[in-house]
């Protein structure tokens, strides 16, 4: 299954919220993915082998496709971002 990582400062409040929204929006688009919420300090560890990174806090960038978590969080532009993410994950199969 495709793996998507969401990260925020604590891995508790914001990234979990974004992860649950990403999971739901992907499901609506016919994609089952394993979406994990992590704290930014352990991001480097979790990012290995992930297919996409949903970034909430600007910071280190990684060599995998990265999506804008704030769009999922606020809902502004979330549909377009989910479309792009779904398209990417479908293309992996």
């Amino acid at each position: 299954m495709a793996r998507v990582i969401c990260a925020c400062g604590s891995g508790v409040a914001t990234s979990q919220l974004v992860a649950s929204k990403v999971t739901r929006m992907l499901k609506d688009r016919g994609v089952d993915a394993d979406v994990e919420a992590v704290d930014i300090k352990s991001l480097r560890h979790y990012i290995n082998g992930a297919d996409a990174y949903v970034s909430i806090v600007k910071g280190e960038s990684f060599d995998i496709p990265t999506f804008d978590g704030i769009k999922f969080l606020t809902g502004v532009g979330a549909d377009q971002e989910a479309d792009k993410l779904a398209e990417l994950l479908k293309s992996l199969k």
Binding site: G9, S10, V12, L17, V57, K58, T74, V76
Partner: protein, 157 residues
């Protein structure tokens, strides 16, 4: 699962005077400590976290801050709805170098991973409803403010 009762009338403050987010935390820390919602870890950890990972959300129509800290600083879960007397610059969650002018603050105290997700989604849903946000500005007293907050749509997208 945390419900609407997590939003506390006795932690509701209107026209809080503060010149910085640290000052908001200092003032609210007194209230939280006194009422037994947090322990002594709250103030130092929330200040540190907010500087590292700011929490003002670039939502429309107005930015809203949702400061929160580590679970072990929280004794009883809460949401404290606070309206500042005047806006202060608050770090943007998406870009710590960018500041947003914030007047509405929801201080979140959560100590159990997962329990608050739906509640946060409901908050986010309402943060982007102009008519609800407008009602927060129109409230004149803390009772009215609390009622306006509690009149949020109990649903999410």
């Amino acid at each position: 699962m945390l419900g609407k009762e997590t939003i506390k009338r006795d932690l509701t403050v209107v026209d809080l005077e503060a010149g910085s987010c640290d000052e908001v935390f200092e003032k609210m820390n007194h209230v939280f400590l006194e009422k037994g919602f947090v322990n002594e870890k709250y103030l130092p950890t929330i200040c540190e976290r907010e500087h590292k990972y700011p929490t003002a959300l670039p939502v429309e129509p107005d930015p809203i801050a949702i400061p929160h800290t580590e679970a072990d600083a929280i004794i009883t879960p809460f949401i404290a709805p606070v309206r500042l007397k005047s806006t202060i610059p608050w770090g943007d969650m998406s870009d710590p170098n960018h500041k947003l002018d914030v007047k509405l603050v929801f201080l979140l105290g959560f100590n159990e991973p997962g329990a608050h997700i739906e509640l946060l989604q409901i908050l986010m849903h309402n943060f982007s409803r102009p008519e609800w946000v407008k009602s927060l500005y129109q409230a004149e007293t803390e009772d009215e403010y609390y009622d306006a907050v509690m009149a949020m749509e109990w649903t999410h997208d």
